[in-house]
Amino acid sequence: MAYETIVEDNIDVLVCGAGLGGTGAAFEARYWGQDKKIIIAEKANIDRSGAVAQGLYAINCYMGTRWGENNPEDHVRYARIDLMGMVREDLLFDMARHVDSAVHQFEEWGLPLMRDPKTGGYQREGRWQIMIHGESYKPIVAEAAKKSADKVFNRICVTHLLMDESKENRVAGAVGFNVRTGNYHVFKSKAVIVAAGGASMIFKPRSVGEGAGRVWYAPWSSGSAYGLLINAGAKMTQMENRIVLARFKDGYGPVGAYFLHLKTRTQNCNGEEYESKWWPGLQEMVGKEYLDPELSHATHRPIPTCLRNHAFINEVNAGRGPIHMITMEAFQDPHLEEVGWENFLGMTVGQAVLWAATDVDPKNENPELTTSEPYVMGSHATGCGAWCSGPEDISPPEYFWGYNRMTSVEGLFGAGDAVGGTPHAFSSGSFTEGRLAAKAACKYIDDGKAQGIRVSDKQIEDLKTKIYKPMEHYKIYRNEVVAGSVNPNYINPRQGLDRLQKLMDEYCGGVTVSYMTNEKLLNIGLKKMKILEEDLEKLAAEDFHELLRAWELRHRVLTSESVFQHTLFRKETRWPGYYYRGDVMKLDDENWHVLTVSRRDPDTGEYTMEKAPCYHLVGNDE
């Protein structure tokens, strides 16, 4: 093969993926490892990569203990009820007790945090959110990471992790290719922090054709956080917990600032409040413990995001759509109108474009909302990801194995979307998780845990052959047909993605089936997934760009298979409004108040599933 092999040796900490989690990891690693070799491998350009590439208009996770607003345990309780009890409270508490220190540093670095003129504190959007002018959020944190790292490798698509051959289940680095030059890159490292992204585009999107990239989570979030870890045999948790978002129709513009700051509300097509009529039936499904509108009203305990989706979905299916966001009142105030528009320009410009294209002025009409296709990620109102160790001073024995944020593979750490059971981390929490993982990774090395790592040339060469196979395959078979993309010997990455999206949609609870699935559908889906995996061996890539898409697809497929397995395992409907198991439509605390944990054997591809105990924060006297 003509692709040059470039080896970066003797790395101490390798950061794979430099969004908010990865930049936090690289930044912090330098403090604990001032003489260590810290390297970043990033698929795009670190200045504008990850989910925050276009900016953010709010930091959604800020305690404000400095201003007497919240304590870490308050945030844990909030995330717990929002996720119907299924969270890792040790990891959440840990993230929450550190997150403010990240935000205060962001302000010092120049990120414009809005101030409340009355209190002098940060401008609150809601209880947990503070408002920012965050167009340059990503370039600012990237600057911090660049100052700490020895080298940033941009445009490297990391495809696989390297495994140690002297000790089983220990990481040894990563490999990938440069999407510009095509060169093969080998990173030999003592510790690896996977801070890659969650998965968009694994379920068929509502948009079609040209608009298929108008997804809620970035199209470049290719599930590599999961693909890399699953392939290395790391245990995963809560992968069934996909998320569905209620958003402005088509543009998927965010609604948080509208609800919380602009105090807008929703109505059905007849101008009626519709949520409350669905609560009694829903309460029978999930129990009063999880849905108690009177208690929520009295104590401001939130009604879980999924349950509000449930009311939305059912109202639309009952024929009273569309659901409108009532903006006409708030937008009469020029300041609030400005906030409403800048909110989009700061983080979802496409929504502003769509309203301009359709002459929607929310001052004069109430825009439509919709529920999105599902997404698999771990930092918004859901907690998919790897089964990671918590911190020593908090975690119970089942949650602790030596190093904070270390996965079940030694020396392999996670941050952001990669860590399971930690929803509501958002940008600041992901950055914080990166910092925590970095400190732990340095300690792991200093404790001598990474000694004697051996990686054979064979492992490196085998992976090289694997990585470029789609290009070889293309070269061999392309001339069998005159022209075009139809070939009996292969499919291209787009064709594979289309098949995956259709399959996930129809069998795993996507949009076209109103998020419904059952055991029979899941089993059929899994069979089709196996065949898709076989066909992926015949994936063809015309150039390096298509090779990038090929490996993104493979990471998406590994993610999807895990979602199938977890959804099949959890025999209950825990999150109505995210998805429904039609054969078990009730929440079942007796059998399923547990976290689901899976492992895919990297050699055989076989899945093993287990239940892990769910610990909750309680008072010392309880």
Binding site: A352, D393, H616
Partner: protein, 159 residues
């Protein structure tokens, strides 16, 4: 809205190619100018639009749901620390917005941790991160712990 590039403005400098998070801005080999090779993988994030020194890149709403006749233009200025937006509606109305992007000279106030005083052994063995505990509340308080909060973790069904 996928991006497109005006033929007469682009000089093929490649800034957009360098920055695009989705790897879809490429240089056309015949015209030696940039174009969007995969519009259905475009997130309309405007990274390329902001990076273009010639204002050569624009966006046109997704064909499957956005009617023609609109525009959203942007000017990002690191020197002044501002970003300016102009939205033109299909019916001709216009809206303009101006926001700060930073409060400090670019990159000047981000520390170089290789030069920070090294952490003590005690700090290494604690749960503290860089700049902690001070930056948690900007006071002299300690890091939070379950013990201090009077809490413990307990297995079972709690809401």
């Amino acid at each position: 809205m996928p991006t497109f590039v005006y033929m007469t403005r682009c000089d093929g400098c490649g800034y957009c190619v360098d920055i695009c998070p989705s790897d879809i801005m490429h240089i056309d080999k015949t015209y030696r100018r940039a174009y969007n090779i995969e519009p259905n993988m475009c997130w309309e994030c405007f990274s390329c639009v902001k990076a273009c020194p010639h204002d050569a890149i624009d966006v046109r709403g997704y064909a499957d749901f956005a009617p023609l006749g609109h525009s959203v233009r942007v000017k990002r200025d690191e020197e002044r620390g501002t970003i300016a937006w102009r939205i033109k509606f299909r019916d001709g109305r216009e809206k303009n917005f101006l926001s700060p992007i930073t409060t400090k000279p670019w990159g000047k106030h981000i520390p170089k941790l290789a030069e920070a005083p090294a952490p003590s052994k005690e700090m290494r063995n604690s749960e503290l991160l860089y700049n902690e505990p001070k930056y948690i509340r900007m006071d002299d308080g300690e890091l939070y712990s379950l013990k201090a909060a009077g809490l413990k973790l307990k297995e079972g069904v709690y809401y």
